[in-house]
């Protein structure tokens, strides 16, 4: 990306469009500074206290890029890693999740999220509905990318085309079964696409919030209400938002229990953007 940006910046500068030139240079500059902060942190990794500020600086710059620039899996990955190394576990989980919202099939993001979750002190659930440990992501959505669907649909369409064409021309014996296989494949692709779309819509309907600090899950939106479950929700726990009222958020645990937490105890959701115009192959 860097050579591309450099070339674009140089070209824009050459043709006398300083605005474009600067717009292209800004993310490049952020990239370089963030990478430098990250490098300094890695160099100081033998002393966590001195390394963490560097990683925190890098993370804040990656955050700015995520908010303002093209969102890519690698950016989400770098953002999450920098937050994790800065000791900001909830922000790291948030960054990995933000990346997976856009690129749910990205294996690196999935692996990094799993490792970040391993650092969360999930309580032992007494009842199944009190489970705080998050569910594994839907298999299809986390393994099948839009390009996979396109490739599968293309292959099945090819079979259907050959089968149909041969059936209508040479009337080969194998043409009808071939067309049938192609048609079945396309139906399967359609079913997978519908399933993935439904999972994505369900995800958007109940956005995931990450707890910034340990927080008691209460039965109502006030400190006077008793705790819904005995153990407080740990820092970094992921819950689904149902409603908001008076500085409190009604959330649903992965196990299904519903309760309230203070709005200040959850990380603010990353502003949504339209689907990325660009796609990065994993």
């Amino acid at each position: 990306m860097t050579p591309t940006l450099l070339a674009a910046a140089a070209l824009a500068g050459l043709v006398g469009r300083p605005a474009v030139f600067l717009a292209e240079l800004k993310p490049l500059k952020l990239d370089l500074i963030a990478a430098n902060d990250f490098r300094l942190g890695v160099e100081a990794r033998s002393d966590a206290a001195s390394a963490r500020p560097h990683f925190a600086d890098a993370a804040s710059r990656f955050d700015r890029r995520w908010s303002a620039d093209v969102r890519t899996p690698s950016l989400a990955l770098n953002c999450g890693r920098a937050h994790f190394l800065a000791g900001q576990l909830p922000q790291a989980i948030r960054a990995f999740r933000d990346g997976l919202d856009l690129f749910p099939w990205d294996a690196d993001l999935q692996r990094s999220l799993a490792r970040a979750r391993a650092a969360v002190a999930y309580p032992t659930e007494v009842k199944p509905d009190e489970r705080v440990r998050p569910d594994p992501p839907p298999w299809l959505r986390s393994h099948v990318s839009p390009w996979d669907l396109v490739l599968a649909a293309s292959a099945c369409s090819l079979l259907l085309i050959v089968g149909l064409a041969r059936r209508l021309t040479a009337r080969d014996d194998w043409s009808a079964p071939l067309a049938a296989v192609g048609l079945l494949g396309l139906l399967l692709v359609a079913a997978v696409a519908v399933q993935i779309d439904a999972a994505a819509r369900a995800d958007r309907a109940k956005p995931v919030l990450v707890l910034a600090a340990d927080e008691v899950l209460r039965t109502g939106n006030g400190t006077a209400f008793p705790a819904r479950i005995d153990a407080p929700l740990p820092r970094g726990a992921e819950v689904r938002e149902l409603a908001r009222r008076g500085g409190w958020v009604q959330v649903e645990l992965p196990g299904g229990a519903v309760g309230w937490v203070r709005e200040s105890a959850v990380l603010p959701a990353t502003p949504e953007r339209i689907n990325p115009l660009l796609y990065v192959r994993g």
Binding site: M1, W147, S157, A170, Y279
Partner: protein, 362 residues
């Protein structure tokens, strides 16, 4: 007090009358002048002499909060606190200075002992400090104290009551001045410097210490991108069929022929006959099957002569019967003379016969 005042007078001046006795009639006038002169001479040392705490009777010196301060002027003695620094952590040390101004005897002033004042000892730990004595003619005297706040609840330096005596007429009368309270800010105890802990390495998965490579972005196919190849299916099929028909017109005719069940069956069998061990025999069998299905010829007819007879029986045109006989004889010839190389040609000939008889392309 008056006693003090008279004592002061006795100590400070000498009466001229006791020195110069009366001398005759002229004596009053000259004596008066001399008296004034002597009075002036004798009173001069009395005005320069500084008052001393010794001028007070011992009982007065025992007064509470009296630190030997005497004042002669109308302003009296002024006292004030000053603190440095005004903000100090708990158990930190601050310097408190008491400034006494306008005292007539600054060199005699006693240092107030704050350890005896509960208001101070409750708030502060009093530290030992010493001050140089003030000069007799100093304008002010200063007393410094080291104080250490006992808790963060300490908000101020308490006021200090300061009793002094001032001469009013001939008497020394007690007056009270106050060093006003001074606010101080006591912060939480400064953290004790702990010995530097050994550095703790950052604990994280190793892959987290590397930045992910930026990958080249490509266009996102979107949610319904997979429908694009599906939409291409009918177009591709139409194109395929059109091109195929243009390229292979005979094949088109064959394809039409396959719509007839008997012809389709025969053509399928002929196709298989190409790969058979005995292509001529397989082709002849396929052809006989076609004749039976298409014209109702008896399946029992096997030899060329029997086939011709059977075709005649079902009123098949004679020319077709002759063609069939010729073909079957050619097959027999190929089979029984060992000319296996003629097999594929016979298959093609059978297909040509069927196509011709079915009238495709005519």
């Amino acid at each position: 007090m008056s006693r003090t005042g008279s004592r002061t007078r006795r100590a400070g001046g000498v009466s001229p009358l006791s020195v110069f006795p009366a001398q005759g009639a002229d004596a009053p006038r000259s004596g008066l002048i001399l008296l004034l002169l002597l009075t002036a001479i004798s009173s001069a040392p009395a005005q320069d002499r500084r008052p001393s705490v010794d001028d007070l009777p011992p009982i007065e010196r025992q007064a509470n909060d009296f630190y030997n301060a005497l004042a002669t002027g109308p302003r009296g003695v002024e006292v004030a606190w000053s603190v440095d620094p005004p903000t100090v952590p708990v158990n930190g040390e601050l310097t408190l200075t008491l400034t006494v101004r306008h005292a007539a005897n600054p060199h005699e002033l006693a240092r107030p002992d704050l350890r005896k004042l509960a208001a101070f000892t409750k708030r502060f730990q009093i530290l030992d400090r010493t001050d140089p004595p003030a000069a007799p003619d100093a304008a002010e005297a200063r007393f410094t104290y080291g104080l250490r706040p006992r808790s963060a609840d300490v908000k101020d330096i308490p006021p200090l009551k300061y009793v002094y005596f001032r001469k009013v007429g001939d008497d020394w009368r007690p007056f009270t001045a106050y060093a006003a309270s001074v606010p101080v800010t006591v912060t939480a105890a400064a953290a004790k410097p702990t010995p530097a802990a050994p550095p703790v390495p950052l604990d994280a998965p190793e892959e987290f210490f590397t930045l992910a490579e930026e990958r080249e972005p490509t266009a996102n196919p979107g949610r319904f991108g997979w429908l694009l190849p599906v939409a291409a299916v009918p177009v591709a099929v139409v194109v395929w069929v059109t091109v195929w028909r243009w390229l292979f017109p005979d094949a088109v005719r064959l394809a039409r022929l396959r719509r007839n069940r008997a012809a389709r069956l025969a053509l399928d069998r002929l196709k298989k006959a190409r790969a058979a061990a005995d292509p001529a025999g397989a082709a002849a069998a396929a052809f006989r099957g076609y004749l039976a299905a298409r014209f109702g010829m008896s399946p029992a007819a096997q030899t060329p002569a029997e086939v011709v007879a059977a075709l005649a029986a079902v009123e098949c045109p004679a020319d077709r019967a002759a063609d069939a006989e010729a073909f079957l004889r050619a097959c027999d010839a190929a089979r029984f003379t060992g000319a296996t190389g003629d097999g594929p040609a016979l298959v093609l000939e059978a297909e040509s016969l069927i196509v011709a008889w079915e009238g495709v392309g005519e």
